[in-house]
Symmetry: C2
Subunit: 197 residues, 2 copies
């Protein structure tokens, strides 16, 4: 046990509460007053445990990627690229429509357009979205070497298409569209999967 007075709150539960708020209201739309209230702690405890608002958001973002958004690395482990794509869509829809947390994707609605003060967070999310697309691209490049995809396919282009549709699904989810509609979109999007040589 460390020295000093022990912390009276669960740092993970507090982080989860912060994640939910950032997810629902965005980085700029979430005030520290709302955060401390939802986390059940007061301001000095928040600053001692997480640094400041920006660091708190980054830690909530890490947690988001590890837990609710883990569908993406999971999907990349599917044996065929077609099943990878299908899993990416179904996983994105399941997450964006899970009633246990806000609709949509934190990477998209966390800070898409912000004031100058939140520019570092906006850029961080840009990088994370680009990283997600790069992970999908690498998976497709690998599939070309194993002949699961024809060599004529542009892996980067295919990944950009899949990810673009997923960001679109995230926007739709945040807009109140039904799960069935998103599933129809995903099914439709899979119609242009490469059969071509």
């Amino acid at each position: 046990m460390p020295k000093g007075r022990p912390r009276e709150f669960d740092i993970q539960k507090a982080l989860d509460a912060a994640l939910l708020l950032f997810w629902r209201h965005g980085y700029e739309g979430t005030s520290l007053a709302a955060l401390t209230k939802a986390m059940g702690i007061n301001m000095p405890s928040l600053y001692a445990a997480f640094g400041n608002k920006e660091m708190l958001f980054r830690k909530a973002l890490d947690r988001y990627l590890q837990k609710p958004a883990s569908y993406l690395p999971m999907a990349l482990q599917e044996p065929t690229t077609r099943r990878v794509a299908e899993k990416l869509f179904s996983g994105a829809i399941d997450m964006a429509m899970n009633p246990r947390h806000p609709d949509g994707c934190l990477l998209v609605q966390g800070a898409l357009a912000t004031g100058p003060a939140a520019a570092p967070i906006r850029k961080e999310l840009n990088l994370r979205r680009a990283a997600a697309e790069a992970a999908v691209r690498r998976r497709f490049e690998q599939a070309i070497t194993t002949a699961d995809l024809p060599a004529s396919v542009d892996a980067a282009q295919l990944a950009c298409y899949i990810i673009t549709v997923i960001w679109g699904l995230s926007v739709q989810a945040a807009s109140g569209v039904t799960r069935a509609q998103l599933q129809d979109v995903a099914q439709f999007a899979m119609r242009c999967w490469p059969n071509w040589a």
Copy 2:
């Protein structure tokens, strides 16, 4: 000429300046101080001419839909649904990548996730996005009656797919993706256009 002291600024140019700020920084990320500076007027003039921040945003939104986002109703006038879809994509990309104004789409990045104070604006944008999708759906429904689309096609599903991809393209545009990449995505998305009976 009306009575009283004449207005010393062009109300349309001021509105355009406000539109650019809202577009780039979102509703919450745009302060009235930044607005008055960019519009070249002071606060009482802004309130006399536009009401308040929310009304100013709504008027900027109207102007956005009439001018930069007019590609959508234009595209719906194309003779065939395939060309409608192609024009929707190319128009969306041209607008979201026009260097004369911020990247992306105001309907998406204006207020996707907000704090409670901006909830009315967020809901307004939800409605406008839904209205855009409904307009595309009606165009496709009409195409079924003229046999440009087979009756087996679900017009609502097709419209939802097209619009979802466009929102995704808007997110990608706001992320710094290149025009060529978006054009590849659009070309790829058109691969699943109905040839089926």
